[in-house]
């Protein structure tokens, strides 16, 4: 229950207070267009410049109670309420989570393969390192184009298996996630598996450990910190990737709801509500992976550092005359290659 300590800190309550005050003033300010008009005419009187901001409109920025309202209650035309948002959230969630798991499992298997087969490592690793810094989300329009083409073909229209793959956008969304998640995870797991001291292996060998045992009892644990660093990033980017794919070319999902905000049937309330849901989902996903990290590698410094950060950031506690640690960035980033 040590985590609850953060609620005894004064700063947490101050932060909460700030958030509540901001939400309340948002609610009050945007309850009436006159308030906003007053603000812009006040700015005009004092500075001589009239702000032509879209933000100063009740239509563009719904107040919190309206956003909550569209999520909880169904309007007469049926476009809102729990069922409407669950229908769309379901599609986003399943694509992100399934893509995350499939992509990561493939990446981990690949990393193990490459860590043990030297020629493959030398031939493929530079390519993977390059692929990691390529903007893979940009591939989304291409995948969607391919799906549109395939969905129109007769073979796909008549074959039920092919149709379930390409007829709907679901598989393409997953595919985008798999591609995006694969490279960073694979590189990090690989580097983790390789980050063993020769002396550690020698110790195990001197105790007559088999290669299998070296893998299960040493390499796996050595690889975990970097793996979790990659998984945390992957969790955030998988949600993002699905949302982007849904913006562009599907007819289901929270991203689709966002992209339809300007259309006749949906309005800004739907946009803001789906952003709130996507954000909550992203945070929960990220925290779930962080929780797994805490459970699996409680000894690791990244977990300890996070704990320290939550308990009041001891930045000035410099280690006693130890050499400067390597600039290992928080995320996957530049490998040691």
């Amino acid at each position: 229950m040590k985590n609850l300590n953060i609620f005894r800190e004064k700063s947490v309550w101050i932060n909460l207070l700030v958030v509540v005050v901001l939400l309340l003033s948002w609610e009050l300010l945007f309850s009436n267009q006159d308030n906003l008009d007053n603000i812009s005419s006040f700015v005009k009187d004092t500075t001589g410049w009239r702000p032509h901001l879209k933000a100063l409109s009740v239509m563009a920025v719904p107040r919190p109670s309206k956003i909550l309202g569209i999520i909880t209650t169904t309007p007469p035309n049926g476009r809102g309420g729990w069922e409407f948002f669950w229908y769309h959230a379901k599609s986003t969630l399943s694509a992100a989570v399934l893509g995350f798991f499939i992509g990561d499992i493939i990446a981990i298997l690949f990393a193990i393969l490459l860590a043990y087969v030297k020629p493959l490592e030398r031939a493929l690793m530079p390519i993977f390192l390059t692929m990691r810094s390529v903007p893979l989300v940009a591939i989304t329009p291409l995948l969607l184009r391919i799906r549109f083409t395939l969905a129109d073909m007769d073979v796909v229209q008549t074959n039920p298996i092919l149709f379930s793959l390409f007829g709907t956008g679901q598989v393409v969304k997953m595919l985008v996630v798999i591609i995006i998640v694969f490279f960073p995870t694979m590189v990090n797991v690989f580097e983790g598996l390789k980050s063993i001291n020769p002396s550690e292996i020698e110790l195990m060998k001197s105790m007559n450990a088999s290669g299998w045992q070296v893998f299960w009892k040493l390499r796996i644990f050595k690889a975990m910190p970097l793996t979790f660093a990659a998984l945390k990033i992957a969790s955030a980017s998988s949600v993002l990737a699905v949302t982007v794919a849904e913006w562009l070319g599907t007819n289901q999902g929270l991203g689709f709801v966002m992209s339809q905000g300007a259309s006749a049937s949906l309005d800004s309330r739907h946009v803001w509500a789906s952003i709130v849901i996507v954000t909550i989902f992203g945070l929960v996903f990220y925290w779930a992976v962080s929780l797994l990290e805490k459970i699996f590698i409680p000894w690791h410094e990244s977990v300890i550092a996070l704990k320290q950060a939550m308990n009041g950031l001891e930045l000035d506690a410099l280690p006693d005359s130890s050499p400067a640690p390597q600039p290992k960035p928080l995320a996957s980033e530049e490998g040691t290659a």
Binding site: V12, P126, P135, F148, T149, V239, L313, P329
Partner: protein, 265 residues
């Protein structure tokens, strides 16, 4: 004997280095050749031949460049703003615990948000012009810079600071002569992520509310069934982000030649 062995070892490492370049290039080249001649035109509607893509790339180079300028402009302005704010915040973090405590939770939340998802909000606040996209890119590049700079500013030997203090250095002198120079390698580490990240963010933010830029180009090609042009645009954006990465690595080598020593500890 020893000299001969040393020479042998040197030759071996030279060969090794050559292989390190050659193998991936061969592998990649093999894949492309397979794609060109073995797959050929059989999957034309999804995978056009590489030579056709490259040809299209050359033919469309003016269109691609004109749109790439806009993407680059958005990315660089956003990146610059995000980096400056990140650096300023990191200095605040290191020198004021109260500031760090009150800002860190929000920064952490910002980090775990699916940032692209707030683009519709930013657009509704600022209109569909450049401002919303630049703001988004700045937000996206802020956190990596902040975290890496905090690490960089604090990762100094205690003895170095003690030495400076024994030489009667003031706090600002310690900052300008020790903390800042030794944190710059960390800044470049973060720029390597945020640099190509900014290009991606610019492209994605053009998907939805834009008429110009590589992202908008891709979307219009997607809906227009122009597969070859789509592949060419993809090639252009890949080249662009790799160029940005190379530029940052190059700048790091030129601007902070001492970075290597710090990284090696």
């Amino acid at each position: 004997m020893i000299v001969v062995e040393k020479q042998k070892r040197l030759q071996k490492t030279a060969l090794n280095k050559g292989l390190n370049w050659l193998l991936p290039v061969l592998c990649m080249g093999g894949l492309i050749l397979l794609w060109e001649y073995w797959i050929g035109d059989s999957l034309k509607f999804v995978l056009p031949r590489p030579s056709l893509i490259f040809n299209q790339f050359i033919q469309q180079i003016h269109l691609l460049l004109n749109n790439a300028y806009i993407t680059i402009f958005e990315a660089f302005v956003g990146l610059a703003i995000g980096t400056v704010i990140g650096v300023l915040f990191s200095i605040g973090f290191v020198y004021s615990k109260g500031f760090a405590k009150s800002v860190y939770p929000y920064a952490l939340i910002l980090r775990s948000l699916p940032l692209m998802a707030i683009l519709p909000i930013l657009t509704s606040l600022m209109g569909p012009g450049y401002t919303s996209k630049i703001t988004l890119i700045a937000l996206a590049s802020f956190f990596p810079v902040l975290i890496n700079m905090v690490q960089g500013l604090t990762a100094i030997n205690k003895t170095t600071i003690e030495l400076m203090q024994s030489l009667n250095a003031s706090k600002s002198e310690i900052f300008w002569k020790v903390r800042l120079p030794s944190s710059l390698p960390y800044l470049f580490t973060s720029l390597k992520i945020t640099g190509s990240g900014a290009i991606v963010a610019a492209i994605i933010s053009e998907y939805m509310y834009a008429v110009n830029g590589l992202g908008a180009l891709m979307v219009s090609f997607m809906f227009g069934s122009r597969l070859l042009d789509l592949w060419a645009t993809l090639l252009a954006s890949t080249i662009l982000s790799l160029l940005v990465y190379i530029l940052i690595v190059f700048l790091e080598k030129i601007l902070i030649p001492w970075g290597k020593h710090i990284k090696e500890g």
